[in-house]
Symmetry: C2
Subunit: 716 residues, 2 copies
């Protein structure tokens, strides 16, 4: 392998049967590592070609023989039956009706059955155990109240590993359904550690074990009916970690017991977008410690064989969040994150682990995640790759990662030469950015932004899944914008705020919908929180609220800090009340109105608020001076290059900073970074169209013409 | 006065100084009654011209000398100060700051001060009386928690009668501000009854005392700042009935005491659009009995002089609702209602009182209620009159009233001959309809529609004000449509439902926004209510839910009867949950999609719901069979002639009726009525454009061409 500027830090997916292609593309893209992927193998010819080798291991999967021999070691979950209407005084409920029976199988073992519950959902009360019986495939409830609805909460085995199930159902795979083992079961754990040990011994050519990921998948609950195949999808929920053994262990440690209802929450489950109960918080911490402890044992085995242990943070990631309290205790050597977006890049880059690697999209698969063609007729993978790269490179300009790579079936790139060229270009740009960072960090404003939500640091940058899976939440749009701005960003929980977390913060962001985890919901019922944020603002801090910030029921305003904003968002309680009329004034920074949706119910509640933008008489952007500080409200925030530019200018103005130590452009859709050590300027046109922009940096100024999506390096 | 078909049942506003005009228009319009108006007088020449005479009396107003001599007899209200932020441990609050000081004056007499309260609104707790003091025009609160917000709740005098205040501020009147007396004060009551007695003695020419209205005005709270002149406007709230004396009397009767907070509700007050607390219900009943008792005394005085007592149900109507429990006990001889809409006509027509009179709009004033020109340059009063008439006549076709009339300054009609002609035509049509009804009622379907909301019968037909004041609430659109349909309509409260109110109901309607009085809010937490409505539907009834019907927090669905609809409206709790996908099928009746807004969050939760209409993947109209019954959901309902037509067809289909005993048209924007006794068909084109429609009635069928807005009478 040749060495050179355009070499290294690149992980190529090799493919047995396509040895020549593998080696040729390794050369073209300057790979230093070759990996296998889910569904591909490496041949000796590839493995022995002088590249470092990553081997993908899905720890809990591909042990079907063991799983079938010991079905009690499989993973489980709670489910709630559909609600059945009592037309008389008895009702018969088939618990699994409507669920995908290829995924779920009832667990009515004695140790599971004690966790089953029957609820009268109309009255909201649990039915006495004396009043129901499980027999012949159904629960029969007696002494029902006619015209009430009843549900059964139950445990069941998950008999199809969900990533495999997804690939089968999406890509029409026909191979055997893979099962998954629960590492909490001693039999399974012994089996898995012995298996891993043997695997390491049998695979001396492997340099890096690429764990994909650990033990518990995010939650994917399928329905039987194709009209509701997706019943529930949460990329960060803990439902799939549960078992009677876990519940018993929890009870032993916490002195209280969890019930099915703690998980099922009337059937709404515990979506990450919703504020967690204390029981959920306890349970998550309990699982995180378990996952970290078990993962450490696996890493130790891998290390004993002189191999590195990298973890892929997608799929079975639950409990191993890279920003969680226990992640660094595992001792991983590297973290690999697939990225569509800038925020995912920052999620990876900021984790406490030696090596940070990002895997680009598109994955080398015929179809993409949304089901659209990628590497097949009608697909434009080079366009997809560049679409994602425009997001990712912004983040890389601010904070580097160590490596990049691809995954999937390499042979699919044949017939897509433009894709090959695009990846070559991306590799070049990545390496050049990495080299700049190595010489010295880019200039950053002394502007500390803190994003405040229920999860705080645990859910830094991400909400739960990828951008396109969570883009109904305004915060992911903000996080994506922030990922490429020359400011410091941290993520605070409400508890953090109550223990001094606002010290040093310049701009505090709270952005979400009333009642969700991002706005915060009931957390805002706490007067101490309200007082502390008020103090922060009145004493000179800046608060940026988006959509329904600080909203909680039962206050004297709908947004609990409405009086700071001088604006509230009516949930119906303002019936018959007149709002303050207003004239729309000029904002101190250029706004991008396309980013600001009309928020029905938004209304001025103070005469001293300034309205910067409004549509049809409804404010879209407002500002109020509060003591020495200020509170800005935006109706929403839809990500775009221009919206990002607006956000930077808004944050700077709110913090009273001019940004003279950093590079600035005068067009909203472009950005610039100044690397003082290497005296290099990086200018990005994030928009599709060519533009002319004036760039100012410490000691210089220039007018540049940039092509659409161009990234230009200027050595000063 | 000549007698004839085009004579009588018409009340004309006369005006001194315009005697010839008065008598000429009386002749033109066939008046049998001449009245004075607020601001006009009748001269002897008019009063003695042989017409019956109505004299307008605003009982509680126009006693300024007495009010100034006895200011303690004036009316009062509770108000809440603005919330003031404590920056340290004390805070100073000026209670009236921000309120219109021409309307309000603090009441800090000892008997009032005991009702004052200070609240820490951040913590939601009342401040101990030891920790605040009222002195030098401000309340000083000590031992504050820094960065909490504090409010003062206080009583104040209302020193400007609100209708007079409105006329002054709207029409730039400059006369003395009129005050108002509280009939609860013994001094005031003695004065008022003596005054009324004397007035009756002094005005022998008056045939009918037209009370406009009784004692307590609807609530109009003005702000000092013109940018928030309208702080609160509720046409049916009871805030203006309060006084220390009323509170003491309430406590004596109810064994519990009301506080300022019962009225102020954190500053949101008690808007009629919001579900009432039990304390509010008790208080309203208490006031209604007081108003009825006192009104009866006044009516008795009037009757002693051989005069009739009619009451105008607008302005100071609070506590005398015509559909309330005590209205008929007053003994009024007539009810006069100003009408813009059909529902107001039904409100009047259905009240238990001998004479029902409607007063047309526009009022003879230079400007209309919205501030637009009417009888002045730029005004088109004839167009306005016809716009309202198109709504009103639909209701008159279904249920007659006894009389019509106008009000205001008659001389303003000079220069508007088209208005004079329009009123002539309206009078002709009214009299013809009245004569038809007199011969025998129009055919009606045996289809009983019940509208279910928190208020039930008390707020039959109206929500609180006129259509244009409440048109943000979907129910008024439905009520307006129902007012002209050949079906029976009643209004049920949730208590009615629990005591057998659904017996005989064919279609039950629940229509409103989550948490409002029309949807019902917390009432839907009651399992007995849920079970009873479920029973009704499952046993064959039909439920029509509109917007967010049956919504209440804390259930296993957002709409508590979502499972009947097979549809729910997500309030955020469905995060990560997949909905049922659907194909849009054909509805069994013609829909009018313009009436159905997109309702964000609407989602199918059942595989057996039919979707009749959808936009951007969001259902707009759905139907689910439930046992022997059915549940239909509409995203909303925006009134139009066509939407009314859709509603009739939908209700008929839901009730399983074909309507063969009534007259039907085949176009949505037209309607027909069949008067069997007189064998007369009335066909209305409710739209602006000409149309051709097939009309079917018992024993006949015809295709008719109608001009825009035409009403045609066909004798069969």
């Amino acid at each position: 392998m040749k060495e050179g500027q355009r070499r290294g830090d690149f992980t190529l997916p090799g493919e047995a049967g396509y040895e020549a292609l593998t080696l040729k593309l390794a050369e073209t893209w300057g790979a230093d590592v070759i990996r296998d992927s889910d569904g591909t193998k490496l041949s000796p010819e590839i493995a022995e070609a002088g590249y470092r080798i990553y081997s993908t291991l899905c720890v809990i999967r591909e042990h079907n023989a063991f799983a079938l021999a010991h079905p009690e070691t499989q993973q489980q979950t709670f489910l709630m039956s559909e609600a059945v209407l009592a037309e008389g005084d008895t009702v018969r409920i088939e618990p699994l009706k409507g669920y995908f029976t290829e995924q779920f199988q009832l667990n009515d073992t004695p140790e599971a059955l004690v966790y089953w519950e029957v609820w009268d959902r109309t009255a909201g009360v649990r039915v006495s155990r004396d009043d129901w019986d499980w027999q012949d495939g159904a629960v029969t409830v007696i002494r029902c109240i006619p015209w009430h609805r009843y549900t059964v909460s139950f445990l069941c085995w998950r008999i199809w590993e969900e990533i495999n199930m997804y690939n089968h159902t999406t890509n029409h795979w026909t191979s055997e359904h893979l099962r998954q083992l629960d590492p909490r079961h001693p039999l399974a754990w012994n089996y898995l550690t012995e298996w891993l040990d043997k695997w390491c011994a049998d695979n001396p050519q492997t340099d890096v074990v690429r764990l994909t990921s650990l033990f518990y998948n995010f939650v994917w609950i399928f329905g039987e009916d194709l009209r509701r195949r997706n019943r529930f999808t949460d990329w960060a929920s803990y439902d799939f970690t549960v078992s009677p053994a876990a519940l018993r262990a929890f009870e032993a440690e916490y002195d209280y017991s969890l019930t099915a209802e703690d998980f099922l929450q009337k059937g709404f489950l515990q979506a990450t977008h919703r504020p967690p109960t204390q029981a959920k918080r306890d349970y998550m911490d309990f699982i995180q410690r378990f996952v970290a402890r078990k993962a450490r044992e696996m890493v130790d085995i891998i290390h004993r064989y002189g191999k590195k242990a990298y973890v892929f943070y997608d799929d079975s990631w639950v409990g191993m969040e890279p920003w969680g309290k226990y992640f660094s205790s595992v001792g991983f050597d590297g973290l690999i994150k697939c990225v569509f977006s800038g925020f995912e890049c920052r999620l990876c880059a900021g984790a406490d682990v030696p090596v940070h690697e990002i895997r680009f999209h598109p994955y080398l698969f015929p179809v993409g995640l949304g089901g659209l063609p990628t590497f097949m007729e009608g697909g434009h993978p080079e366009k997809d790759a560049m679409d994602y790269w425009v997001h990712v490179r912004r983040a890389l300009v601010r904070q580097p990662v160590d490596r990049i790579g691809l995954g999937g079936y390499l042979h699919l790139t044949e017939g897509f030469p433009a894709f090959v060229d695009t990846v070559t270009e991306m590799g070049d740009q990545f390496r050049r950015l990495k080299a700049l960072h190595a010489e010295g960090s880019p200039a950053k404003m002394k502007l500390r932004v803190a994003v405040l939500h229920a999860w705080g640091r645990l859910r830094s940058w991400t909400l739960s899944g990828h951008f396109h899976e969570t883009d109904g939440n305004v915060l992911i749009h903000l996080n994506e914008a922030l990922s490429g701005l020359p400011v410091e960003v941290s993520f605070l929980s409400f508890e953090d705020v109550l223990s001094g977390g606002l010290n040093g913060v310049d701009v505090l962001i709270n952005a979400g919908r009333a009642g969700d985890a991002w706005s915060g919901g009931d957390a805002w019922r706490n007067p101490a929180l309200l007082a502390e944020v008020t103090r922060f603002v009145q004493e000179g801090g800046a608060l940026l609220g988006v959509n329904e910030p600080t909203a909680a029921p039962d206050g004297d305003t709908c947004l609990r800090l409405a009086q700071l904003f001088g604006l509230d968002v009516d949930d119906g309680r303002y019936a018959c009340h007149g709002a303050w009329s207003f004239e729309t004034g000029k904002a101190p920074v250029p706004l991008w109105p396309e980013a600001l949706p009309v928020k029905p119910g938004a209304r001025l509640i103070s005469g001293d608020s300034q309205v910067w933008a409004a549509k049809d008489g409804v404010p879209q952007a407002t500002c109020r001076k509060c003591g020495k500080g200020k509170a800005v409200w935006l109706s929403g925030f839809a990500w775009s290059p221009e919206a990002s530019g607006m956000l930077l200018r808004l944050l700077s103005w709110m913090a009273g900073q001019t940004g003279e130590n950093v590079a600035r452009t005068d067009s909203l859709s472009s950005e610039a970074a100044w690397f003082p050590a290497s005296k290099t300027l990086v200018v990005l046109n994030n928009g599709d169209d060519p533009l002319e922009t004036e760039v100012t940096w410490p000691g210089g100024k220039a007018v540049l013409k940039l092509a659409g999506r161009e990234m230009r390096f200027l050595e000063g």
